[in-house]
Each structure stands twice: as structure tokens, then as C-alpha cells.
């Protein structure tokens, strides 16, 4: 992971629907190569374009509105990113330029995938989500990872806090590579394997 994250201000697009699943974020038919790239165009394809497989923008979809095309923040309801584990959903969001997702709650695997790809996924209360969705129509939203707050240009003297663990925070802020971090534990992993081969030999005779 190369991108680092500390503070971000940008246009936010509200998509206040519950249970937006990864098939919605990137339909399977849009996953065309064995690669993490070339997925941005397929983001929300089913809603964003007028026809299946087409590229004619559906003007009613929020990301096609003039003021929202350059959104870098999404505001969503509960259980965002539920469904399939496809990391392509996160790669597509990232390629489109989304850096932050604010939602009431997230699908478990999706949430972990965001972290792995430098996207900050933050859970907020329904009230805060509603307030930010309203405010997003009149100015930028700012997410401060250092302070753990979200604020809106159009609401004076207001901010809300969010929770994030020290580990994901550090990963995002420093753009750490988890594989490299884990390889520093290689001795402990190998020690486990050595003992386990005696205890459960059948695990290793494949």
C-alpha cells in the first residue's frame, strides 16, 4: 500500500440506500480482466449507465450530476458493501477517486478490503449520516483521520467524532504494507508450524 492518509476534504455524494452490495458497486460483468486495474468505469455500472454494458450516463444517478462527478467521498446507509467478497468493488471505488466512505455500517469483508487499499471507511450514526448528506449539497466535507472527526463546510462549528482502532489508523496514515509487517513475525509462524507438524501431522500430508 502506497497511499497515505491524514486529512481529506472533497465533494461527497450521498447514496442513502441500505444494503448496497458489492454486485451493485461493481457488477460481475464489468470484471473483465485478471487485474486490479481498469475497473473504475464499471463502478455502479447498473445505476450509472442507461443500459447494461452501455456507457450512456443515466442523468438521475448521483455521480452523474455535474456537481458530484468529482466526488471523493461517499455517504451511504447501513451494511454498505455487503455480499460478495470481490475486492474489485474497492479497486473500482479507488480508481474512480473515492478516498472516504461514510456509512452507518459496512459489510465485514468490504471493510477490511477498504483498509487494505487505503480507503478510509468510517461508521457514523444515522443522524450524523443524514446531517452530512444534507450538508454535502452545499460544500465540501472534511474527514480528519488524525483527530478522528468529520465536518462539513456548510455547517458552522459542527463536527462529529468517529472510532477507529490504532492498528487500522496507523496502517492508513503510514501506508504500511501488511505483508511486510507480518514477515517480521516469520519466526513465530515457523515455530508454530514446527510444533503443529507433530501435533496435527494430517494437516501437512497433502
Amino acid at each position: 500500500m502506497k497511499k497515505t492518509f491524514s486529512r481529506h476534504s472533497g465533494v461527497a455524494a450521498p447514496l442513502l440506500i441500505d444494503n448496497i452490495d458489492t454486485d451493485q458497486i461493481i457488477p460481475s460483468r464489468e470484471m473483465k480482466t485478471v487485474s486490479k486495474e481498469g475497473l473504475g468505469e464499471g463502478l455502479f455500472a447498473g445505476w450509472r449507465y442507461t443500459e447494461v454494458g452501455g456507457r450512456e450516463p443515466n442523468q438521475e444517478f448521483v455521480l452523474n450530476q455535474n456537481s458530484k462527478i468529482d466526488s471523493t467521498i461517499l455517504i451511504a446507509g447501513s451494511n454498505f458493501g455487503c455480499g460478495s467478497s470481490r475486492e474489485h468493488a474497492v479497486w473500482a471505488l479507488s480508481e474512480y477517486g473515492i478516498r472516504v466512505i461514510l456509512a452507518v455500517s459496512f459489510g465485514e469483508i468490504f471493510h477490511a478490503n477498504c483498509l487494505r487499499n487505503g480507503i478510509l471507511a468510517v461508521s457514523l450514526s444515522q443522524d450524523n449520516i443524514d446531517a452530512l448528506a444534507n450538508a454535502s449539497n452545499e460544500g465540501e466535507i472534511t474527514v480528519d483521520l488524525v483527530e478522528q472527526t468529520v465536518s462539513a463546510a456548510s455547517i458552522k462549528d459542527w463536527k462529529c467524532d468517529f472510532e477507529i482502532g490504532a492498528y487500522p489508523k496507523k496502517m492508513l496514515m503510514e501506508g504500511l504494507c501488511p505483508i511486510e509487517m507480518t514477515l517480521t513475525n516469520e519466526k513465530a509462524i515457523d515455530a508454530f508450524l514446527q510444533v503443529d507438524k507433530e501435533t496435527r501431522p494430517w494437516v501437512y500430508t497433502v
Partner: protein, 465 residues
């Protein structure tokens, strides 16, 4: 001293180190891959120049986009341009010397069907796969969950994973399921009652007399749907049935180890005074055959119920339904039996009992795709293929098939389809397709009636038509 839960035991066993801030480093015994998300993980790892740490404990299978057409070619995909996923995954798997269960292997099938069937999944193992329904494997008493492709890459490179221990939920199911009510109905009932987020990212342990009475195949169905309940995963303590199920499997313990393995597996259960963060109790005797009416698995009712007045307009519009309507009797255009939820032998048997000597109604496209080559072979030995075909079902080559749309062949837009799968999301089975989730027996009965119908109503229903 406070007792340990089954999850605690599995977790502690595999815990290699503290990864900081509540995260643990867990050793992973098996990594499973499929061509849709696994190929990209293999490729990305190679691009980084990192080797696979334990290739003999990584398995790649072909299931998601392989064609289900009879006599399919080795690289034939059901989605346009999909061959590249098959060929690249094969190439990468061979290069990295991991196990490859290729399209033409007699073991081929859906990863979550093949893994338990062949002993790739075993009690007590820790397993991950870049596929959300990996939770199915918890039915054997294993710690198994779905991850993303980057996590899979991480496991290949290091043999371990960084993960935060989830909260724990116990779901106690007691009582006898009524005749004709299956594990699928139990799972759908649970999700309908407690919501699609009801699992709260917990690791769920299913227990109780109903669970004890379920076959291992039914337990796999139940745990399969845990992810639709927003659970981290599900587990069921191994018992004698589990041991019988995995005994003599291709990748299971060899003779000299079996006794040791089995005695270890039987110790995998929650202690008497173990504490859970949440407990849900279910009376199984009250559950009726279920069917989903909306676009989330929580939008589910009894087959003989009416659409509730709390129904969301968005779901109603997509599904072409109205509040207060009866779901039973709605005309259908399609029926699908298969998938990692209900594509096992017992599922095909339960559908065949309804289909025997019957004909699929005119205008219904009916497809059955066994979950694996082994299931297909066993079914054919029992003559089930003949029952399905004579009834008018297409009998396909194993894979995920019509469980999800990957481009290519599907049901037409707005077609109402009764499906033995796990997801009824908008467009899941094709643009505009209206998926109703149900047990295989309900799919079979509906296919014959040409309309949504529970097996017990099929007789009356046909008279009414």
C-alpha cells in the same frame, strides 16, 4: 475459571502472535482460491516477486465462470471473454505448484462443495478463501471465513493472517423441523426475523437439538447463509456425523493418523460455562417453508404469507409486487437448483422427490446444476438426472452457474425466478431478473406449478390452475 467457546479453542490454537491493537496473527492451514478472485491474487503476488510459502496447502478450483453446458470445453466460460480467468488461473497455479482442481478434473465443482467433500476442509482447520461463502465450511467445526484478494495474497506470502477476534453469538435451535422444512428455511427464517445485519459481524456458533439432528450437508447449507446474516462466520461443533462425513476423503488424514485426528476433533466444543456476547433462541417447530419476496435475504416470508405492509418501495418496484399480495401463485419464468447453498446430493434428492413423474409448466426455464462432479456422478448413479431431464430441467455441468450473472446466458429481464441460491440482490441473476430464494423442494414445486408454490400445496394448486 470461565470456560472456552469452540471459537476460542480454534482461535487460540492458531494464534501465533499479537499483531497489536486487538489484532491477532493467526496461522492459516488451508487457502482456497477460485478463478474469479484467486487468479488476481496469484498474479499480484508473483508481480511483487514473493513466493507462495506453503504451496501444498493452497488449492485453486474452477467454478465461478466455467460453462455449465453439457460437454463444455476445458476453457469454456459462460461469460463473454471469461476464458482468460480460467487460463490465467491455471497457468499461475501450475507455476506456483499449488493444488489445481481444473475444469476437467473429476473432482471439479464449487469450492465450498468440493472442499468438505474431498477433505480439503476438515474439523479444526483454519481456512480462508477470497469468497464470502467460505463460512459454509464452519459446518465441519472449522474456523473458515471469506476474505478479499489482498488478504489471500497475504496468506500465500506469510502462511498467516492479521485479524481481529470477532464477538461471539450463540444461536440455539431446539425442536423438530416440520416435515418438508429444511435447513434453508431455518436460515431464511433467522435472517428474516433478525435482519440482514443481525449477525453483527459475530462468529456464530449454532447448537441445540435441531442442529444435532441436521445432516452435515444441511449444516453446510445453514452455515453458508451466515454471511447473508452479516456474520463473520458460523461454526458447529464436530460430532460423530461430521467424522463419518470426512472419513476416507482424498485429502483427509491417512489411516495412521485418523484416530488421533478424530479424538482431537471431538474435543472441539464449547465448554459448559462458556460466555457468548449474544444469544438467540429459535423454536424450529414453528418454521414454515420460506421464500424471499424482495432484494435482500431479510425480505423473506412464509410461502403462504402475504407481502408485509412494512415492505420497501424500492424492493417492491424491482420485484413487481405490491403490499398485501399473496406470494404463492405468482407466475414464474424460471427455476434454478444448484449453488454452494443447495447444490449437494441431498438437495437434488429432495427436489427429485417432487419432480418424479411430473412436468415443468410451459414457459418456465428450469435448470439444475449439481454443485460438483462428485455430486453429479452420485446423482446419476441414482438416476436423478433422468428425473430432472424428463421433467424438463436442463442438467448442467458443475459450477456456480446461474447463481450469479457474469454476462452471457441468463433469464430475461423481469423474469420471476425461484432459486435455491443465497442472494436475491438486484441483478444478481441477470439484469432485471427477479430472484426468489427458497429451498430446492420449493423450487421444484414452483417449477411444476408454473407459479410460486410450496410442495404441500402443489396438489391443490394444480387443480386451481
Amino acid at each position: 475459571m470461565q470456560g472456552k467457546t469452540l471459537l476460542d479453542k480454534l482461535w487460540d490454537y492458531h494464534r501465533v502472535a499479537d499483531a497489536g491493537d486487538g489484532y491477532d496473527l493467526l496461522a492459516i492451514d488451508r487457502l482456497l482460491l477460485h478463478e474469479r478472485t484467486g487468479g488476481v491474487a496469484l498474479k499480484s503476488l508473483a508481480e511483487r516477486g514473493l513466493p507462495v510459502k506453503a504451496p501444498d496447502r493452497v488449492f485453486a478450483l474452477m467454478d465461478h465462470i466455467v460453462s455449465f453446458r453439457e460437454g463444455r470445453g476445458r476453457d469454456e466460460a459462460r461469460s463473454p471473454g471469461g476464458e482468460v480467468f480460467i487460463t490465467q488461473t491455471r497457468e499461475m497455479a501450475q507455476k506456483e505448484q499449488i493444488h489445481l482442481i481444473d475444469t476437467d478434473s473429476p473432482m471439479q465443482g464449487i469450492v465450498h462443495v468440493v472442499a468438505p467433500e474431498k477433505g480439503i476442509a476438515l474439523p479444526g482447520l483454519s481456512m480462508v478463501c477470497p469468497d464470502s461463502h467460505t463460512c459454509s465450511l464452519g459446518a465441519l467445526g472449522a474456523l473458515a471465513w471469506g476474505v478479499g484478494s489482498s488478504e489471500a495474497e497475504h496468506v500465500m506470502a506469510t502462511g498467516a493472517i492479521r485479524v481481529k477476534k470477532p464477538d461471539q453469538m450463540q444461536i440455539v435451535v431446539n425442536g423438530e423441523l416440520q416435515h418438508g422444512v429444511s435447513a434453508k428455511d431455518l436460515a431464511l427464517h433467522l435472517i428474516a426475523k433478525h435482519g440482514a445485519s443481525g449477525g453483527k459481524r459475530c462468529a456464530i456458533e449454532f447448537s441445540g437439538t435441531t442442529i444435532d439432528a441436521l445432516s452435515v450437508e444441511e449444516r453446510l447449507t445453514l452455515c453458508n447463509l451466515a454471511v447473508e446474516f452479516a456474520a463473520f462466520t458460523a461454526i458447529i461443533a464436530p460430532d460423530k456425523k461430521t467424522l463419518d462425513f470426512v472419513r476416507d476423503s482424498e485429502f483427509g488424514p491417512q489411516k495412521n493418523n485418523i484416530e488421533k485426528a478424530e479424538s482431537m476433533w471431538l474435543s472441539l466444543c464449547s465448554d459448559d460455562h462458556a460466555q457468548f456476547d449474544e444469544i438467540i433462541e429459535i423454536d424450529a417447530s414453528q418454521i414454515k417453508p420460506q421464500i424471499s419476496w424482495g432484494t435482500s435475504p431479510e425480505e423473506t416470508i412464509g410461502v403462504d404469507d402475504v407481502i408485509p405492509d412494512t415492505a420497501s418501495l424500492k424492493s417492491l418496484t424491482y420485484m413487481g409486487l405490491q403490499v398485501g399480495e399473496k406470494i404463492q401463485g405468482k407466475n414464474i419464468g424460471g427455476a434454478f437448483i444448484g449453488s454452494c447453498t443447495n447444490g449437494r446430493l441431498s438437495d437434488l434428492i429432495s427436489a427429485s422427490e417432487i419432480l418424479r413423474g411430473q412436468k415443468v409448466a410451459a414457459g418456465v426455464k428450469a435448470v439444475c446444476v449439481p454443485g460438483s462432479k462428485t455430486v453429479k456422478h452420485e446423482a446419476e448413479k441414482l438416476g436423478l438426472d433422468q428425473i430432472f431431464k424428463q421433467a424438463g430441467f436442463e442438467w448442467g455441468e458443475p459450477g456456480c452457474a446461474m447463481c450469479f450473472y457474469a454476462g452471457g446466458e441468463t433469464f430475461p429481464p423481469e423474469a420471476r425466478v425461484v432459486s435455491s441460491t443465497n442472494r436475491n440482490f438486484e441483478g444478481r441473476q441477470g439484469p432485471g431478473v427477479r430472484t426468489h430464494l427458497a429451498a430446492p423442494s420449493v423450487v421444484a414445486a414452483s417449477a411444476i406449478a408454473g407459479a410460486i408454490c410450496s410442495p404441500s400445496e402443489l396438489k391443490n394448486f394444480k387443480c386451481e390452475q
